[in-house]
Symmetry: C2
């Protein structure tokens, strides 16, 4: 297992800078008053394909040698990694095959196809996803770019915390959602060197709290097919992300789906950005654990903004 380094992150940043956006940081006096903290929201939902995952995907795609690039890339993903890898592959002009749960939001499927990704659907469970992927990968010969358990991907995601640190001039803590742990691992990778005193806090849905339970138990615990409104956070930790989570994460907090939806509406209303339920988990845990954040400068990574506007979680079913 190769553990990506701070220098890998710096190299990734140089490689991807021409292809990604340096996303803005937004603040809200209202949300600061509400939480008692000074919040800095890093708007990765403003990446062209709508999620931070374009960082890791672009780093993987543009790091391929010419022979492998000709055979393209392949992956499985609950959504944003799929669209971001398709986007990155299109930028380089190479094929991208994607295994995606049939239950993924229509908006995410549409986006993958708009970027030229070829989708093979699977059942919404980790086991079905992995079986289907093995078949697709064998058929196409595409290089497997795992959504998070890949050193190239983690080094790419780490570039976000580097920008956030530069843009804010320093923070006491950074809070990001945790699913498979790619963003959190990249954040740990970067901050453990750049700002070792800055806390890295993971935010997880109660209804998919395998990372929380793993963190408390000291070993990886995986669920098969958890259900939460935060559909970007359904996947389990793997060895590489567990390395970063177990060594560098300060704390993991969880929030209920109702709390996540409330935080999502608060952000839409007061920050006026469109973000996914998964991206609302950090604000939900900050509101729920006020004492842990009050008086601090806290970075919050808004991980993605791809939602189905016709099926918002507060709409009547």
């Amino acid at each position: 297992m190769y553990i990506p380094t701070y220098d890998d992150m710096l190299a990734a940043h140089d490689r991807i800078a021409p292809h990604i956006r340096r996303t803005p940081v937004r603040t809200s006096d209202y949300l600061n008053e509400l939480t008692g903290a000074e919040l800095f929201f890093k708007c990765e939902n403003f990446q062209e394909p709508g999620a931070f995952k374009v960082r890791g995907a672009t780093n993987a795609v543009f790091g391929l040698d010419a022979d492998q690039a000709a055979r393209g890339v392949a992956t499985h993903s609950s959504g944003n990694h799929a669209s971001c890898l398709s986007y990155a592959a299109r930028l380089r002009g190479i094929p991208c095959n994607v295994v995606m749960p049939r239950t993924a939001p229509q908006a995410k499927k549409d986006t993958v196809r708009r970027y030229g990704g070829v989708i093979t659907e699977c059942e919404p469970s980790t086991s079905s996803r992995e079986e289907t992927f093995a078949r697709v990968q064998a058929e196409t010969g595409g290089d497997f770019v795992h959504p998070y358990n890949d050193p190239r991907v983690i080094a790419g995601q780490g570039t976000c915390a580097r920008e956030l640190w530069e843009q804010t001039g320093g923070m006491d803590a950074v809070v990001a959602p945790i699913g498979g742990g790619g963003m959190i691992s990249g954040t740990c990778l970067t901050l453990s060197t750049l700002a070792p005193d800055c806390q890295v806090i993971a935010a997880e849905p109660e209804q998919a709290d395998d990372a929380y339970r793993s963190f408390k138990a000291g070993h990886i615990i995986a669920d098969d097919a958890p259900k939460t409104i935060a559909d970007g956070l359904l996947v389990p930790l793997k060895d590489l992300t567990w390395h970063f989570v177990s060594n560098h994460v300060t704390e993991i907090y969880t929030a209920s789906d109702a709390e996540i939806i409330e935080a999502m509406k608060l952000t839409w209303k007061h920050l006026r950005v469109v973000m996914e339920p998964s991206s609302a988990v950090p604000l939900a845990v900050i509101l729920k654990n006020r004492a842990a954040f009050a008086g601090k400068r806290v970075g919050v990574i808004i991980t993605g903004g791809n939602v189905d506007l016709d099926r918002l979680p507060w709409m009547p079913a």
Copy 2:
């Protein structure tokens, strides 16, 4: 009638800069491909109270002498001017009285009250609004800050186009919504000196097209109580804004409510910002008049982001 000058705009910018945000400019490759133009969206929805009107309101409030400041300010408004004037008055610590239609969105009333504004409701017509306001203004002695027909307000709004010009490094055209004409007048004020070759194009709902009909007729035509989803654009031109519209606006285009809603969804989906129906009229007219904009660098002012998330226009009633 005092016509505000370019120097008034520069003085306004110095006066308000400590109190407002220099809002970011967003772009979308997808929307550029769709329109054939290069679009630069100025995110005034990211002002703390959610609308560009904080510029003019802050300029008026911080320009008052101490005696008048003690009696505060008063206005009538369909929404954002009310919340922005309340916000500015609270920043200076002075009273703000607001006459607002009883049909205004609940989200806008809530915002005014959160900023300490005192609301007196009227019927949703221009005549009722003006009658009620005369009474409130006589009772309180507050300085009347008109939502748009006020040189201080127009000079303040003009600071937005100045920032947009600096942030983009130049454009062929700027498109903004037109209701009473405050933003369009400020844009004309600034660009007629700063960039006289840059077109200023107004975008208006078909169902409240009094500015369009005025522009074509050569004199002000006012509707009483028009109805459109773009509820920030219901008010008529007045003498001061008519001066700028008739002398400096290149063209006025209109769009139907269905086209406005479609453009609003497109922006939420691809730009991932929360904006009001009124702010979607520019993109609606750009999509409808593709040939007029294709190949050009076009600034689009996203005027506001205060919407009732429980009553979005594409939700079932």
